[in-house]
């Protein structure tokens, strides 16, 4: 653990006292107190729906003074923010999970979107350029200021957001799930940056589900549960165990974060051979390079790798050629070569693919649970192309009970469910197609700890039911926790394979690094 930069007697920069906030009859926050000391990294954790985002919206003025009870003290003075401009004026800057950058504008234009340096109302381009360069240097980016956002990776976009915050003389930086869509390397770089900011006296609030990151950088951790503060842990009072945080978040002991399973591995079900895929736009770029893999019944196989390794591209190209061009190679299911030239055929052949982006690619958000579950197998609730609404509803209710989807009923819009419940709807949709092979791409991204455990249990059940399960994940501990075997992908190729019981983060990373060295 780091030497404490922050001493306990440092004055608080922020005090939120007795905050309560209701939406109609629902109490989102009740009597929450939250204190942040000047110059610390303060982590805010809790399950989805625990009230983290609501609390931050109260703080930033999204919910204006008067719409909540309690008081906010910043720099020792009581503040009554009317909107987000009021809080920004004091240097309280929020960076949301969904980045607010305009893709077709340059870095510089994005950073100085609202207050560009100008002379007589005309934007001073050279000043914008210079100041952008300086800001980018601070966050460790070497990109040219006129690079378009759309041409940058998510990790770098995140850094641009932070540079944008720095342009506003930030004093309290709030990051909502900053690493949710970053790979391990970019995440590590971002966390390093937070530590540097701490040296410079910038205070940060970090909202995250990734407990390993939190214990790596946070000075203190406040846990919210069901809209109440459960407590604040000080990381300088000795090492805070991740399990301790989890227990406080969910108010129960998780014997383990991963349910146990006795693997009953059977016959070979799924075989991919010499699979190659090229980039849809840059046709000379081979994204997946002649890879092969085999999965048996009852087996859970993980695919690990850095972001951009080609894992999603591999999965989507297998699943009905949904990505890429010039796709070559063969797929056999139970020994039979299958035609996977479109998604419809892939589903018929017994394949299911749960996408990494459930909101954009997995669900029809304005439609209800029932219609989402039946979507990929409408034939299963129909007679001669006419949908039987009663049968459809019963199917939906069955899955709602089996998967423990928490909702009022099956007619609830999926857009209004929490991340974990949305993911269960997506899984239900695919289970209803009766697949032999399931490919789950980042199945627990942005999902709280309790729901993750449930998703893992579902994966185990599927394997026990004799299905072949492939899990793609950027979280190595997760793969190590649930997989029988982990394949390591790097730059479109499988560079290593580790048996589940022998897998550690170190030997997975070693496989990647070994290949990197060889390439150089």
């Amino acid at each position: 653990m780091l030497a404490p930069v922050v001493s306990a007697d440092r004055p608080p920069i922020l005090e939120m006292r007795g905050i309560s906030k209701s939406f109609g009859a629902v109490k989102a926050l009740s009597d929450v107190s939250f204190t942040v000391r000047e110059g610390e990294i303060h982590a805010l954790v809790g399950e989805n729906g625990a009230g983290k985002s609501t609390l931050m919206k109260v703080l930033s003025g999204v919910y204006p003074h008067g719409s909540y009870e309690g008081s906010i003290l910043f720099d020792g003075h009581e503040r009554q923010f009317r909107d987000i401009n009021d809080s920004e004026a004091l240097g309280i800057i929020i960076i949301h999970q969904e980045l607010a950058l305009i893709p077709l504008m340059s870095i510089a234009e994005n950073i100085f979107l609202s207050n560009p340096p100008s002379r007589f109302g005309i934007i001073d381009r050279s000043a914008v350029h210079e100041r952008t360069k300086a800001l980018l240097a601070k966050v460790g980016l070497s990109e040219a200021p006129d690079t378009l956002i759309t041409n940058m990776g998510v990790g770098k976009q995140q850094l641009v957001e932070i540079a944008k915050a720095l342009s506003k003389d930030v004093r309290l930086l709030i990051l909502d799930e900053p690493t949710a869509s970053l790979n391990e390397k970019d995440s590590a770089a971002l966390l390093e940056l937070l530590k540097e900011f701490r040296e410079q006296g910038i205070t940060s609030i970090l909202i995250s589900h990734k407990l390993n990151e939190i214990s790596a950088v946070a000075d203190r951790i406040t846990v919210l549960r069901d809209g109440r503060t459960v407590g604040t842990l000080d990381c300088h009072d000795g090492v805070v165990e991740e399990d301790e945080i989890i227990r406080r978040m969910v108010d129960r002991d998780l014997e383990s974060r991963y349910p146990t399973r006795e693997p009953k591995i059977g016959e070979l079900i799924f075989e991919v051979a010499n699979w190659s895929v090229y980039h849809p736009q840059h046709s000379e770029r081979q994204v997946v390079k002649k890879v092969s893999m085999q999965v048996r019944a009852g087996e859970v196989v993980g695919i690990s790798g850095l972001m951009g390794a080609g894992r999603t591209e591999f999965a989507m190209s297998v699943f009905g050629r949904s990505w890429g061009r010039n796709i070559t190679g063969t797929v056999r299911i139970r020994g039979q070569e299958v035609d996977l030239s479109d998604v419809h055929k892939a589903i018929k052949a017994g394949l299911a693919y749960v996408t990494e982006d459930r909101k954009q690619l997995g669900l029809i958000l304005p439609e209800d649970i029932r219609k989402n579950i039946s979507l990929a197998h409408l034939g299963g609730v129909s007679t001669r192309a006419v949908i039987d609404d009663i049968r459809e509803m019963k199917v939906a209710q069955e899955f709602r009970n089996r998967m423990r989807i928490r909702s009022h009923n099956v007619y609830q819009e999926t857009g209004k469910l929490s991340g974990g419940n949305q993911q269960k709807v997506v899984l239900s949709k695919w289970l209803f197609t009766g697949p032999d092979v399931l490919i789950l791409d980042e199945p627990t991204r942005g999902i709280d700890v309790g729901a993750k455990y449930e998703i893992y249990s579902i994966i185990n059940e599927l394997a026990d039911a004799g299905k072949a399960v492939i899990v793609i994940s950027s979280e190595m501990p997760e793969l190590i926790g649930i997989c029988d075997r982990i394949m390591v992908m790097h730059e479109g190729d499988f560079v290593g394979e580790v048996a589940g019981e022998e897998a550690t983060q170190e030997n997975i990373m070693r496989a990647i690094m070994r290949r990197k060295e060889r390439d150089q």
Binding site: L365, P366, A385, K394
Partner: protein
């Protein structure tokens, strides 16, 4: 972690049923309110049998096109060319029938096929080349208006074969001799339709109850069905006391029933909503999204052609001005009827009600002597208002 309550046993409480249907009841009530308003302000003229028949005839082609437009809008697209296509088809029909003496049945079939081909061409660019439908159909709007004027050489062509005119201006034949000026066949047909609708409602309610699915309270259900029966019965009586049911009303009713069933109950219909709600997710669920989009445009072309035929038959001539601005009325009908401009939302019945709201307002304001200038203003405001109410309700 608490288990969700077991819902298999007890009927579900909550929002499902109401949410699905409240919007439509609201639309229905608005239409009735508008009719009642004009009934009093026009001293009952609006519901005179002759006028009522006229409203139906005047709006038939808008309603027919709204059925196709609704599906186009649900998939997240728009078709600006329908007015021009309808006019163009009318001109082609006139050319075939009047100048080349083609039998009207053959000419009509050729015209419908041509409409389908036009839809296919536009749909091809939208579905497979991913060119925004706004642009493709804007081009279509110009192209087919130009072609229409070329076909007509700027003149009007007519008159049509009297049998063809009956498509719009004919009435169903009377089987029984009419008594006291009442056309008995039409009355019986109308009442039959009312009975059928109510019987269907009872049947589906019984089925829902037998499966423990939430249904509306019985009192509400009863009142609703009485109202449906009374309104249809009364309208049938009014129509029967003029000249009976117009042929085009039968065509319209059949099409409405077919499209309502198709969009609500079939796999194909469901997939159209899915494509509009989230095209990428739909594609990854095995739905052939491009093919569906293509199909909705082909369908729109056929319906625009049918509307063009109905309109030409009604005027008994094909004029270069035929179909001018129809697309706006058709699109407005869909949006007033609750379709979402973002796709994925909208119902056939809503679009039909929307078309009649526009039609009744046109008619009522004309009777009141409001000039065409302020009619436009009021219609524009009603469109904006209806969509605002919808957006507000969505947000709540």
């Amino acid at each position: 972690m608490s288990n969700p309550p077991n819902t298999m046993a007890a009927p579900q409480r909550g929002t499902g049923f109401w949410k699905e249907n409240l919007r439509e009841y609201g639309m229905m009530i608005s239409l009735v309110a508008i009719v009642v308003f004009f009934y009093f302000t026009t001293d009952g003229v609006i519901l005179k049998p002759l006028n009522l028949t006229n409203i139906i005839l005047q709006n038939s082609y808008i309603v027919i096109m709204a059925l196709g437009m609704l599906m186009v809008i649900v998939t997240g697209h728009i078709d600006l060319s329908v007015g021009s296509v309808a006019g163009f088809i009318g001109a082609v029909a006139a050319m075939l029938m009047v100048q080349y003496d083609v039998h009207f049945v053959i000419a009509a079939i050729l015209c419908l096929v041509l409409g389908g081909v036009i839809g296919a061409i536009q749909g091809f660019w939208v579905a497979y080349f991913k060119i925004p439908s706004f642009i493709v159909t804007l081009a279509g709007m110009l192209v087919f208006r130009g072609l229409m004027i070329a076909v007509l050489s700027g003149r009007s062509i007519g008159p049509f074969d009297p049998t063809f005119q009956k498509l719009s201006s004919g009435y169903i034949p009377e089987m029984v001799s009419s008594a006291n000026g009442i056309y008995v066949t039409s009355l019986v047909l109308g009442l039959g339709l009312a009975v059928l609708l109510v019987w269907q409602n009872f049947k589906s309610r019984a089925r829902r109850i037998s499966h423990d699915v939430e249904t509306e309270p019985f009192g509400f259900f009863l009142v609703k069905n009485l109202v449906i029966f009374a309104i249809i019965g009364y309208l049938a009586y009014l129509i029967a006391s003029h000249r009976g049911m117009p042929n085009v009303l039968i065509i319209m009713a059949l099409l409405i029933a077919a499209y309502a069933f198709f969009t609500n109950r079939t796999i194909f219909g469901r997939q159209i909503y899915a494509v509009g709600g989230n095209e990428k997710a739909a594609a990854l669920s095995g739905i052939k999204t491009a093919r569906l989009t293509f199909f909705t445009f082909v369908n729109m072309g056929v319906l625009a052609a049918l509307a063009g035929l109905v309109f030409a038959a009604r005027l008994n001539t094909a004029t270069p001005k035929a179909g001018l601005g129809f697309e706006l009325d058709v699109i407005a009908a869909c949006f007033i009827g609750g379709a979402s401009a973002y796709g994925g939302v909208g119902k056939v019945t809503g679009a039909v009600i929307g078309a009649f709201i526009m039609g009744v307002m046109n008619n009522g304001m004309s009777i009141l002597g409001i000039g065409i200038d302020y009619q436009q203003v009021i219609k524009g405001l009603v469109l904006l208002g209806a969509v605002c109410v919808d957006v507000y309700n969505q947000r709540r």
